[in-house]
Structure formats: structure tokens, C-alpha cells
Symmetry: D2
Amino acid sequence: MLVTPRRPHDLYSVTAFSHPDFTRPQLAAAPEARFVPAPADGVLPEAFFSTTNLPTYVKVGDTWRMPREPRMDSALVLAKDGELWVREGRHVKKGDRVAVGAHEDGSEGIYVHASAFLGDAHGDGEFKFMSSEVSREKPIDYSLMARLLIEERDRGGYPLWVCGPALVHSRARNDMTWFIRNGFVGALLAGNAVAVHDIEASIFGTTLGMTGQGEATQGGHGLHMRAINKVRAAGSIANAVRDGIITDGIMHACVTANVPFVLTGSIRDDGPLPDVVTDALEGQDRMRRHAIKATMAILIATALHAIATGNMLPAFVTESDGSLRELATICVDSSEFVVSKLKDRGTHQAFGVVTNAQDFMHILRLYVERELDQRKLAMPAARDLASAR
Amino acid sequence: MLVTPRRPHDLYSVTAFSHPDFTRPQLAAAPEARFVPAPADGVLPEAFFSTTNLPTYVKVGDTWRMPREPRMDSALVLAKDGELWVREGRHVKKGDRVAVGAHEDGSEGIYVHASAFLGDAHGDGEFKFMSSEVSREKPIDYSLMARLLIEERDRGGYPLWVCGPALVHSRARNDMTWFIRNGFVGALLAGNAVAVHDIEASIFGTTLGMTGQGEATQGGHGLHMRAINKVRAAGSIANAVRDGIITDGIMHACVTANVPFVLTGSIRDDGPLPDVVTDALEGQDRMRRHAIKATMAILIATALHAIATGNMLPAFVTESDGSLRELATICVDSSEFVVSKLKDRGTHQAFGVVTNAQDFMHILRLYVERELDQRKLAMPAARDLASAR
Amino acid sequence: MLVTPRRPHDLYSVTAFSHPDFTRPQLAAAPEARFVPAPADGVLPEAFFSTTNLPTYVKVGDTWRMPREPRMDSALVLAKDGELWVREGRHVKKGDRVAVGAHEDGSEGIYVHASAFLGDAHGDGEFKFMSSEVSREKPIDYSLMARLLIEERDRGGYPLWVCGPALVHSRARNDMTWFIRNGFVGALLAGNAVAVHDIEASIFGTTLGMTGQGEATQGGHGLHMRAINKVRAAGSIANAVRDGIITDGIMHACVTANVPFVLTGSIRDDGPLPDVVTDALEGQDRMRRHAIKATMAILIATALHAIATGNMLPAFVTESDGSLRELATICVDSSEFVVSKLKDRGTHQAFGVVTNAQDFMHILRLYVERELDQRKLAMPAARDLASAR
Amino acid sequence: MLVTPRRPHDLYSVTAFSHPDFTRPQLAAAPEARFVPAPADGVLPEAFFSTTNLPTYVKVGDTWRMPREPRMDSALVLAKDGELWVREGRHVKKGDRVAVGAHEDGSEGIYVHASAFLGDAHGDGEFKFMSSEVSREKPIDYSLMARLLIEERDRGGYPLWVCGPALVHSRARNDMTWFIRNGFVGALLAGNAVAVHDIEASIFGTTLGMTGQGEATQGGHGLHMRAINKVRAAGSIANAVRDGIITDGIMHACVTANVPFVLTGSIRDDGPLPDVVTDALEGQDRMRRHAIKATMAILIATALHAIATGNMLPAFVTESDGSLRELATICVDSSEFVVSKLKDRGTHQAFGVVTNAQDFMHILRLYVERELDQRKLAMPAARDLASAR
């Protein structure tokens, strides 16, 4: 039996793909892109071109060029030095040259290479079962995800982990710590709550006053406040690690293993911890510094942070040789809704895993450990083979 | 701004569509379909063709013919009188001639007209937001659904209503009763629980022992058992209505308004009520007698009955003149999951409404009433116009 | 910090508990229970006492006695030989003596020992976080569940496994097979779909036409029908195993390891397989034969079968010495809703695990294997110790 | 049949309740509360008392006093003028006198009057169906909610409305506008997205590029960015209303009807609009200015804003005469999860309505309109009666 052509947004398509053929008459005949100065700081010209997260080509000086730092919902800015950037409207200055246009087909000098990703995905007109994109009824290919993670690590990739507090409430905390310590995390993006509950667990052994067995404790509702207060007294999470207040867990691992983290604030935050970036725009800028470098994204149990990150991630990775591949994006949530919402906000490349975050982490780690064991076993043989030559 | 071409499975496409062009070389050159006798009662020949719910054409005697009583997951049987039927495997008798084949493109004499329904649905390769099919974030077009219902009633259609007990727990019971009394229900398909809770509400004013305000009552857990017992003593629901035991509600309306109902049994049933068809196969046969006549389907708050009905419904209605239109299928549930599951089981034409069943019923009735009021207001004018001619 | 008193329905309370104190004035002064003959076959006297799943004591001949085969939503029948039974109304014959009464406090000779289970669960009036009963945010104590399973096996318990098809769609199929083969399954209760997809997987390598990696296959929508047809041709699942048609998986393990299974039918069923009990009442009777023996229940990814089983399970196990302990009932589902619904239908003792069924099975097996390994390691030492004495 | 005592956290209990009896020996003998100076700005003394949202009494100068501006997760500060305040840790200054203590029973001079709210809620030890607190299966009492809203308006209450973008995606926008225009909204708390989609709808007729019928539009993904840009160019939402850019909808109604709104920022925000408070702490402070005045809260389709508001709301209203009543808190969401999460974060008084936000708004408005009509009809009669005296 034939397996149908792989859907572009599933995990199997994490392969290089081709640039468009610019000799096609439609593209060959396209005009130059038009740029108009921004009327004021943080205000775009009326007809500005609104970007997507897909590979985008802009005709400037008779060549098709890709802008740097691609993301959706932003503007194309032609800098004075001729460099082309994707910039959020609020970062555009009065007089900056901003591309205008409403079409993505090249007819206004801007071409969005959508077909590569969104191509002939569903249109095969065949009667099928199980054709929905996100469903708890689909098997989860942990083995593939484990291999992807190991390959990212081995080639020096930069996997973003974006996590919600479910990761800490449950025992996934140990597994996340393991991933950090073992080099699988490029950067951790999260909110105040992840760090608070992780630190509460380190100091008091509870999360939101609940034991590791899920029992509420007497006086437990104040423990996260006490944890916050201790870190505020220490001045920072790093200080609290240094002072022996925080002795294990996710934040401890980030600090001791030098894995960068960004904790962005929200109106739900208690405290907050001193490390939290409370301004949303400053928070976005800090997150984006990591998003620009991302070669993979794992979004776990958070709608807010997942969609925020999805908004600023390109759907693809640009290799150093200019070639492109899809940016593998895994979104884990208990319900189909968060994954569908992420896709509905434009992060089409997201591959949905509908499960409990704790269980996901545990099995993923298990598969990574198994794969590493197998590779270790296979290695001496490979070395023997090499030395025999 | 241009609205994108309507998706074939949304409610807007409830329009006639064309038969395939059989003069196309691929179809013109197709061989006759091949039929093989069934080896035993209820057993199909190995290579049997497994049907879908889409328009299907079988080449017999050099003509392309559509089988009668189409549904998915069944066999094509050529009767002795030359009539072509879709039959569940268990109804096939030893020696019945059953179509064989694995391809749906005509190359084995069987053509499934999938493109009409599943055509170029998604494959436009454009970057878009909100492209998921089923989402609580999509607006619900009650106005359109109200018009569809009224049109079905006015042209003598046969809308199937397939309901779960949420309809009775909540106050939607009154609204459902209104739809039955006012001619909008061709037949009601449900389980024991719908009737039990409806009758409990008529006799005791509670459902599962809960008042209409959601309060549990003392001794309430036994009230549905008492309701069942009373009807068992009376011998049938109709008897209980006649004897004044059941005085209002959904089942009362069905009995007094002569709307047929099928109550199929399940292993969850208490009692059951005497009217319940406890054998699942006999239950399917009874349901299918209505499914064959259906011109519309409204599936509310039930995974079991919705998928069961979806399995036996064609995706289309065959008009008396042989033309086809999509069978409008509305699936209402609190979560996206049930609707997606229904689609994943092959009922692609289902249009999902993600909301609370009680609220759905209340607003739908409101819109139907408004639309009827407006038509009543418009009518005299129309009559004046006619008389003026 | 103090851990709050354990909630009676959580897994930690699987301990023996006391019978009521019948010397309390209220109970000592209670009248004899009153019995009234059933007016007709399958019809109870109007004022019949409706049972619960809790320990129930009936005053007959001046002693408080517990009825045999306890379950909810049924009647108390005093047999001619003086034995007291819990019987579904439909099984009561004309003239059978049925207990009447509306109160559960002994005042009519019937006492329901509710406090033991439902006691002072929540009423401690303390401000707490995380006090909801079922939440995906609660940690899952796999270690405890693994120990419970092993203990049940070691003492010759009878754990019921009640499963939905999610178990087969996903790769949990291997893990379920492992549990069957290793003696952890007393009986398997499921529907047609579980067996169909399991057998489809054995024969074609797909479930609902989807590969183990979640890809739809060409022509895949018919594969489950072909699987069914092959078993229908063979006559039964056992025959198909014998004939080498089914070579692995869940049903294969049940047949070869002599683990009894009951496949009950529903109106959603394709086929069905020859082993399916299509009559819902006959299906309930077959299920109950196992429910009566149950000492533990694991309900996975099925609302229909879980609630059906919950309806017929007592909330407690009666040990051979007459002592009682809670019947550990674990309900696994992707959403809180199914677990809450099960509880709302009276199965208060259910302990909810909100996760993906596939992941649950994988981790549970892992923990059971680890626990067995540890016990094996510990055993020689124990034996040494013993021989040294 | 008896209705069980109302659960304290349901809507029916919005009644006055008593202060504790301070002559009880336990309380009469209680020591004075102890206060310790804060060691630094924004840092609390180690053993600080962590507040709840329940009525709290602090023994100072031999009297039991209630602190002002109660909320959970904060500290009790005794000001120099002897006034007692609830203050977030970050607002505490070095040297401020902060109450210490771990017990809420008065034994350290602090008494939390929990029983009034959380009392004997569940502990009646009776077997019942439908005892879960939040369920889509429970009826929704729109009639009661309509009366509460009208009563709040009539007595000059201050109902907070806290809304997520689902309110705007769907047609609930009209209904929300109606509530604002008709005096039912004390203040609106929301995020950037609510305002952006509302303004997109006013300017372009779409939300997230989707028409009111749920169709994606060509180029639609950029429309919300164009809407934001127009308001940024205008300088503020009020300016954009004044300039005729925004001509209808929710924000238009707030501006023209002088209903205060707070738009707080998040890392998900596009733009943002100029009115958005991007700093999370400044945002909390702005929200709390309204929370302090709140006499009712309606939280619709937002986890983030609902929990943020729940964190800063007392569970009760203090009337001008010092008497207390529960602060009616309605939480509307498509899933039980958000409501349970809100409760699990301590907002126990929340009453859950599990439905689609659009449908909720439509029916609630209908019921309010009906109730107003009935009162209008009743009024002349009342006036006649009065004049007849």
C-alpha cells in the first residue's frame, strides 16, 4: 500500500527545499518592489506590506533578495546600506523606507514562497479517514523527535524550549532539568510562574502548595509567595543559586549550565521574580534575540508563550549556504485547541502532540536516552571499521 | 477584499453540483465493474470494493450507474433484477454478486466522485489565519442555519435530529419540543438516556436528580430509575403518554405529533425503556431506514449517535430529478474533538458548531422564529403583488 | 508542613475501613426493611429502594446484612432462600420480594455507609490552591499505580481493563499486549472497534487506514472492513488466531493467554466481528459477570464503556473475611470531562488521570517493569536472609 | 423532594453573611497580631502572613480589624496612621510593618473567615449524581444572571467585565457593545487583541482576516496590522474615534459612553495599540484600581485576564454599613478547564458557565432585555398603586 505524499507541515518534511524559479515569466517580468518612507516613528505607510513567516523574496536592484530576520506581522525595511530587514512596526523610525504592496505573488515585486510549505497539502480529493491535522488519536512518533533533537545538538543547532508551568507542577521538572544539563536546550523561554514553581519545588518540595503526589498542603497557598520573597531578597535567581537557596531544578540547571533563559512577565504574575522582564515589548525583543537564532522549537503546555514565539519565528531555517529547510516546531498540549490556535495564528509548520506535558517529557527523554545508548554501542564498531581501513 | 472560494464542506455550498464527465478518455475507456459471488452469508469476497459516502458510479452494461441507498463501509451488490445496491456486509447472502476493486478512479469500473466534495479545498497555498476547519473561535451563522431548516420544512425535506442527553439535562428540552411540534423534525434518533431524562423531567421535574437550576436533590439519584419503572409498567412511551404519566417534553411531542423516533440501546443504559431497540444491529437497521430518507442532519451533543449516523448517511442528497446536492450536516458539540472525530471517520461534509447544546438550541429557535416572523410580514405584500397582476 | 487528610476517593485510601456501628441508637432502633412483591416481570413496586454502589446494610430478621453483587441503580431482592441480592429491575420477576424505601439512613431498615467513602472530604473550610478533583495539572503517580497492579497480581486479584480504541490507534497496543501476557489483566472489556483496529494492525499494519506514524494510506479507509471480513470468514477471533490470520496484538494475547474478553456492540460498529455481543442487555450481563469479581478497574480512553462499567461496579471490594476496602478505580482520559462525567454518574471512587492513553500505557509499563526489577534484585537477599535463619 | 443546602460558591448564595463570633474562647483569647519591619524595598520579612481573598480579621490594639483593599497573595501592612492595608510585596517599602504568622485560625492574631465561604460544602456524605462543580452538563441560569446584572446597575454597583478576544471574533461584539451602552459595565479589562480585533471589525469588517461568516479573506492576515497602524497614526483609540476611523463596536462604546477600560499588554501582542499598558506591573496596578471597587465580576473567554483579575479580587464585597456579601463572579469558557484552573488558583467563589462566549452573550442580553421589559410593564401598575394610596 502506498503512503500518501507527506504533508508539508508534518515532522517528516524537515528537509531542504528549493528556492522559486525566478526565470518563470511571471517572476521574470515582475517590477521592482516599491518603498515609501514611514510617516512617523512607529507608524507605517498606509499600504505597507505585511509579512508572513514564509520564505519571502523582494526585488531590489533587479535581484530577488530575502530579508534578514524574517517573521510575520511586520514590515520590510530597506536600510540605508541596502540591507533588507523585517522589522516590527513599532521599531520603524520616521523616514525609514518601508515596502508597500498587497500581493504576495511577485506582481508588486514581493514574492512569498508559500507553495513550498502550504502546497498541495490536502487537495488530493481522496476519501480518507483520519485526515484532521491535530488529533489525540494520532500516534506520537517519539523516536523521530528524539532523533531530531540529537541531530540538532550534534550539528550545533539552537533549539528553543518554550514552556508553561504544567511542566513544573508535574514531575516533568526532572526531565526538563536533564535536557538542559545534557545540551539539548539552546534557550528557555518562559514566564514568571515556571520559575516560581520550580523554585518553590526546590525550596519547599511543593508546587502551588501541592506535593509531588498531588496533595494540597496546609498553609501551602503561601509557599510560592515565600519562594518569590527569598529570591527577591537575594536579588536574582543566579544569586539565589550562588547562595544555596535554590539547589536543584530547571532554573538551577540553566544557571549552572549557562543556558540562557528569558522570563517574560504577565499580569497574572505574583512577585515577580527579579529576573522577570515585566515590559511586554522589552520581553518580545529579548525573546526575539533567541528566535532569530532558532533552528528548532519545542513549545510545551503554554498558549501564551507558544503563540508569542510562533509570531516571531520564521517557518524555516536559513542554512549558512543559503539553503532553506523547515524549522521543526513541535507543540505539545493537553488539548487540540491550543495547537489549532497556534496554526490559526499563522504558525502552520507546527506539529501537534496532544498529550499531558509530564508524560511527554518522560517518554521523550526515555527515547533520547535509548537512541544515545544505541549510538554509543554502534560507535566502537564504526571506529573499528575506520581503523581497519 | 475578495472572499476566498467557499470550502466544499461548509454550509454555503449546499448547492447542486455536476455529475462527472464520462466522455473523459479515462472514464470512457474504463472497463466494466467486476462482480464476484459472496462465499457465505455475511462474508464478502476478499477483494470487495469498500464504499464511501460520496457519489459513486459503477459501470454495468456499458452505462455508469449510481447504486441505491449509498453509505460508507459497505459493499456494492448487483441484484438479480439488475438493480445496484449498497449493502452492509452482514446483510449480504451467499452467492450475492459483490463488486470487487481497490481503485476509486474508474480503472476498475467504479468511480468515486470525490473532487466534487473534497476538491481543491485547502491547496491554494496562501498564508492565512483561521484556516482550521473546526474551531470555537469561528462565528456561528445561526441565520443561515435557520433559513436552511425553514427551507427543508417548506419543501417537505426529512431532517434527521440526532441528540445526546445534554439536550435534556439543560433547558434545551423546551426548545427541542418546539422544533418537533413545529414540523422541523423528520425523525429523532437518540438513545435510552435522552428519553429517560426527558421523562424524568416530565414526571419529577429533575434530570439525573438535578433541578433545572443545577442543584442536586436529596434522593435524586433514584428518580430516573423510578421514571423508567413507571414506563415499563405502562408498557411503552406511547402508553405512558396516553395514560397521562408523561405530560410534556420531547418524547411527548414525538408521540402526539407523530414524529417517528428510534431509541437505540447501549451498555450504559439503565432500564431500559420498553421502546429501546437493544440489539445494535437491529438498531442500525432501524436508524438506516430514516438515514436513507434524510435530506439534512443535525447532530447534537453525542459522539456515539452522531458517528453512527454519519456512518450510514451519504454525503449527498439525490433529488427526484437525479441531480445531487450536498447533505447539509451540522454537528454541535462543546469541544472541537467530537466534530473532528466525526470528520476523521469519513463524514467530511459535517459543519462543526462548537458550543453548549442548550445555548445552541435556544438561539437557533430564536432565529427560526425571527425568520418566520419576517416571512409572515413579507407575505401579505407578496400576495398584494400577485393579485395586482 | 502537614499533608491534609487524604481524600477518600484518591488512590492513597485503598485501605480497609470499618463497618458502621450498629449499636448507635439510630441504627439499633431501626425497623426491619420492608419488602413488596414486584407487580410484573421487569417491573418494580412503585416505592422500590434504588441502590447505590456504596456498602449497604439491610435489616432482615433483626440482623444487618449486606446484599450480594452490589451495584447502583438496581433493586434489593430477598430470595426465597433468604439470600439478599442486588438485581437490575429488568431481571426481577413478578412476585419477587423487593425492598422499598426512600431513605438511606437506616430509618426504613436500609443503611448506606456513605460517610466511609464520601465523608468529610472537602468541608475543612480552608483556603487552598489546587483543590479541584480532576485536573491535568496534577502529578500522576505512576509509581503507586505500578505497585497496586503488582499487588493485585500477586494476591490473585481480578483487575478489569476497560479500553477504548485510542489504545490501538496509537502504539499503546504493544504495551497493552505486554500487560495481558504478564498476568496483569483479569478480563478485558471493550467494544468492536478495539478488536477491529487491533486486528487491522496485525493484518495490514494500519489502524483506520493510518500508519503507525500517523499517515493516511491510499485505499486505507477500507482496510478495517477487510480485516472484519477475514475474521467473519474465519468464524471467530479465536479461529482467526488459530488459522494464522491474526498473529500479534491485544486480541491475539487474550486468546493465547486465556484472558477472558467481552466485546460489546454499539450502533457505531462496522461488521461487527463475530465475537461481538450485539444485544446491549446481554452485553451488560456478560460484563457484569466480570464486574462481580473485580478487585480493581482501569478504564482507559472510553466514556461509553467506562460509565457502563462504573454503573455495575461496587465502590468497594469485599474480602473473603468480610472486611471491605475501596475498589481502586483508575480512569484515564485526554480530558477532565470524561472523568468528571464518570464521577457525576456516581462512580465517586474513580481516580482521574488526564493524559494521552498511549503515553499512559507506556509509562505505566515502564514503572511496572522497574518495580519488578527492583523486587527481583531485592528477593535473593530476602532468600539469603531466610536460609540464614 | 428536598433541595440540598446551596453550595456557598454558587450564584444563589449572593447574600449577606455574618462576621465571626469574636467572643468564642478561641478568638477571645487570641494574641495581638505581630508585625515585623520589611528588610528592604519589595522584600517581606521571612515569616510574613500570606493573604487570601477571604474576609480576614487582624487583632490590633485589642480589636479585630479588617484590612483595606483585600486580595490574595499579598502582605498585611500596618501603616503609620494605624490603618491596616493589604499590599503586594513589591509595593512594600523597607521598614513597613508587615504582619507575620502561618496560621489562619486566630492563634497568631489573624483570623481568616473561611467557613463562611468554603464551609460544609461537600461534606454531607450522601450518594449523589452530578456533584462536580463545573460541568457543561449543568443548566445555565440566565434568568438569575440577568437579574443580578440589573440589580447591580440599579444600586450603582461596579461590575467588572474581563474579556478575551473570542468575544470579538464572533458576533458577541454587538451584544457587548449593547451592555456597555446600557450601563451594565463598570469597567472593561482586556488585552490588546480584544481592542485590535474590535477595531479591525469596525474598519475592515473582519477579525483576524475572517469575515463574520467565518470565511478567510485574501490578504486578510494583514488587516489587523493595518488597523493597529491606523490607530498608532491617530495616537490613541479615543483620537481614532474622534477622527471617525473607529465608528462602532466595543471600544467605540467605551469611549463614547465614558466607560473606563484597561488594556494590558502581553508578549503575544501585535503593535500594540497606543493605549496598551505594556508593563505587567503597571498593568496590574491599573487593573487593581478597578478591582478594589468591583461589586461583581464577569470573566469571559480568557484564562490570562480572568486569573489575573481573580488574583486581585476579594471573594466578597464590603457594603458601606460594614456588612459583607459574596462578590458574584461568573466565569464563562468553552471548557471546564479554565474555570477549574481559576478556582484552583484560589478564586473559589467563581461560578462556572461552560459554553461558547458568543452564545453566552447573546442569550444573556436576551434575558436582560426580557427582564427589563417585564419590569417596565410592572412599573406603571406600581405607580398607579402608589398614586391610589
